[in-house]
Amino acid sequence: MVNPILIIAITLASAFFIGILQVYSKLWAKVFFFLVLIFDFVAAGANFYGFLSGKITSPILVKIGGFPPPIGINLFVGKAEAAMGFLIFTITLLGAYHLARRGIPEPQGKAMVLFLLLSLGAAGITFTGDFFNLFVFIEITSIAAYGLVASAKTEKSLEAAFKYMVIGSISSTFILLGVVFLYKATGSLNMLDIAKKVKTFPLTPVFSLISLVFFAGLLIELEVFPINGWALDVYQGADPVVVAVLTGAAVKAFYLIFIKAGGYLALPSFFQLSLIFGGGTYLVSQFLAWRQRDVRRLLGYSSVAQLGLLILSAGFFLNNSLPSSSRHFIALAIVLFVFNHSFAKSSLFLLVDNVETREMEGWKGILKRNPLFKFIFSTSVFSITGVPPFPGFWAKLLLIFAIPKEYAWVVGLILLGAVAEIVYYFRFYRIASDGEGEKVKKNLASPLAASLILITGGGVAWSMFSGYMGIMFNSLIIVFLMVAAAIYIFGFSKPLQWTASLVLLGYGIYRFLPSMKANLHGFFLALVFFGGAILLFATYPTSKRLSWSFYPAYLVVIFSLVGIALSTSWLNLFVYWELMSWSSFLLVNMGKKAKRAAWIYAIFSSAGAYSMLAGIYLLPKLSISKIGVTGVLIPVLLITGFLVKMATSPLHIWARDAYGESPDEFTPLLSGIMSKIGVFGSALVFLYVIANISSGPALRYGLAWLGVLTAFFMTLLAVFQEDLKKLLAYSSVGQVGYILLGLAIATPLGWNAALYHTVDHFIFKGLLFVAAAGIIYRVGTSYLPHMGGLIRRMPLTFLAVLIAIISLAGIPPMAGFAGKWLLYSALIEKQWVFITVVAFLASTLAFLYCFKILHTVFLGQLQDENKNAREVPFPIAAAETILLVATVAIGAFPRLLLDPINKVLNKIPGMKNSGLFYEKTLGAVSKLGHWNALFLMVFTVGSFIFALIFFALTSARVREVKQLDVGYAGEVPRQVEDLHFGYDLYAHFRRTVKWLIYPLVSKIWKGIYEWTGTFAEVLRRFYTGNINTYAAYVILISILILHFFAGGK
């Protein structure tokens, strides 16, 4: 234990000493400066460690002057104070180191004194146990901050400093008045003493007013919504290093005193106060940042919003009516939030210091050339936005689950704000990662340290979280996830990475083989593992151009999927879900032109995930089993998250570009398996939630319409798509719509269809995307009109794609037909007439794009630039062959797939009797019809061979002609462009259905985005930049606080 007074006294004395020392030697002043900071850091750390390890059991009470508490001033250092002190000095040390490397502003001695005293003031605020002493330290902090904010001595920084100074003075006046009134009312200045006395008070309105005067001052310092113009200006105008320390350390100290004072003064309306101001600040600031183009101000808005969330949490923490367990969770959440925000935001501001430009446009492509910068930036952004496994994620989770159900709207508000946060942060991320930017200054040690601390903290938080929430994370999966991430170090050699990934996956299959039981979980687990292995195998040939982190992210996706499939609790599922979403975001973002797509993907998947989280929050219990809920809200919220991954309309607009622009090696996984895990989740929702609610049938009917309309419209859009992968993307989304339809039917036959189609769609769409990767690798483009005639160059791929397309179109005898047959049988059995019609029509429309793929890629004229294309590389060809064989085999023997599915469904109550049985001549027989797959296969292939032989024997002498030799009215075509019809194949049809393919949904989403942005833009004018106005806001809000929160008569 180190006496906290030592920290303060020695720092103070050192400040004075540096004042002397700098007159004689600047170097020694600097050395001394760092020695003091290190001493502070170590001392605060020792105290914190003491509390953490249990060596210090009771709070440290330092009686200054030796007087007992009410008489003299005393320092009060409990666990929270010790932690905060450590945080403050860590951040200060990081900031100081950064500043020293960059160059301390002249005159250095004075700057160092200011810096030292800033941290001292923050520490004093944290440690002190006396209200007036608090005021003194607030002033120390403020004046040091004024000086430092102005330290750049530019017009902007001076303006910011002046605004800060004026509003800060008003704020401290309020605080001082509050303190003096408190003294007058209680006869004491000691916090604990006042707290003790307040308990005996009849809480009269006047006393509330006194508290409110104090809190009004604090709220100004805490940058709550309408009165934070000054703070934003400071974030924008001041030296980023100073801002880093301010937001990371000083503001957090203010926050701590806010909580402490809230506890001591027992203001009756404290909860409402913090709810309104915290929640309002959080939500409004997140939205105000949408259109912000100045990076520093953007981060400022973000800081303010985070602070709002903290204030909100404080309200819940101090609400005595909540159960103590949830208050305990909230306390943990607050700790994590503070930790997360301090380090992440400091790290971001220190990064900002490395970049010259203020405009966001100037950040264009900055990540590309600066790998370390990219690492730190990503870590910080991910952590702030709450991406697992960073602390921000766990904090959000803890907070949400600690909020009692009657405040569910607060959870909604938090999640809404979180989505808005992701919108603008990832717009920033997108701009920063788009294209090739300039190199930046390399002053990255401090932010690097901060981000490493964040990562460590994330790990600690994960273990803490699982401990507290009582969720068992499968340790095996976590080990696999960690090993997967560790494959990063093999990045110098992609083949090595590939091999390692395959080995790891193989070992994973071996270890998880016992888990692949005949139930829903085991079914999807097997799909993930075997499918993932095949698709991973096919990534090899193109791996050279991949980034280092491709394979780690790929494997993290796969093992997160494993985690999802094995989850027994919704929360567990959610954690893996987020992990999967964000690692796949990284993968999508690796595509060259995928930045915008990845951004939209991030927005949608996080919005979906948060919707799911809201649903999970509302569930009465977390385990994945039958849950009795009422109302339609919970299932809708839950399933929305899964529908986003399935890209069900109207949540599909991310899918086209995310599929189309993501790296070719990853798209098969995205379409083949990741969309299926959405199916898994939806199946769980159908099974355990929707099945038990009274409005279940209506909801299922609605979802069925959603599924079938997705199938219809996506198919229609695929028809007019000119990019191979985007076409396949729409096709994929449409097919998943069928699966949703099958699930929504919710008869045994419907589920048979859905599960069958799930696997089958993986097989043929995986095949198609793998083939597309190969083709694009050989041809160098995914633009369909630039291909054509490739059948001569890649016959095997053509065969594979042909079979896959036949399967996709649902033409017997390939595997795809069985899914169609089961689905229609189920639909007709269910007697959903209109849906049946639309489903049929959609599948007819699919022929249009099926032909388009085959024609524009493989048939027609071979383009000159593709003359030298070769067959796809071996691993892709091998993967194609495996999937091809699977398609044909399942086509002939659908029971290969249907029997396991039946086994799975037999385990599920209510899904037992599908009425499907097998007969020798009629094949599969349902209640309605029959279909003999083996016969059809034998018949088709047999007749085909027979007809072929007959044809070959009887036909005229066939000669091969050159491709250009066509009956062309006697004309000599000399270039393929004259003959190849590959662009806009369905122009005529488009003219017909123009009204159907009007991009209504994307226009609506875009409209929402634009209008929110515009609204934010307009609302932002509220911050006029005029200090008079700011002051007027402060007075107005103070009046409102005094009027509405005083309570009593």
């Binding site: 002033e139 003075s169 008003i170 003096v180 105008g237 932002r1020 005029n1026 008079n1028 007075i1035």
Partner: protein, 116 residues
């Protein structure tokens, strides 16, 4: 009560300057007035009618002192508050001087570069 009212009036006058005046120097002056108002308020809160200053320089004050002197704590506090006010004013003035040196203007309208 007069003291309270007048000191609060001083605070409000200071705030008025901050809210309305377009000259940053005047705003600083306003802040200073506000400080003064607060100080007077503190002192007047500590006053007790019919009692003397808390300086015990006579023997008779030594017995039951508390019934004879006014509350010394506000006086001690105000001492600190005054110094802090001076410090803030000094800092403010230095910032204003720098601002003036950059733009040669004290008009608040000139300093609206940071907004939105």
């Amino acid at each position: 009560m007069f003291f309270f009212a007048s000191s609060i009036a001083l605070i409000l006058i200071g705030l008025y300057a901050v809210l309305v005046k377009r000259n940053i120097m005047k705003m600083v002056i306003g802040l200073s007035i506000m400080d003064t108002g607060v100080n007077i308020l503190i002192i007047s809160l500590g006053f007790i009618r019919g009692k003397t200053a808390p300086i015990i320089n006579a023997k008779d004050l030594l017995v039951r002192t508390s019934s004879k002197v006014v509350d010394p704590v506000p006086q001690a506090l105000v001492l600190t508050a005054i110094v802090i006010g001076v410090a803030v004013t000094a800092a403010a003035l230095s910032i204003v001087m720098l601002m003036y040196s950059k733009k040669k203007s004290l008009e608040i309208e000139e300093y609206k570069e940071l907004k939105w």
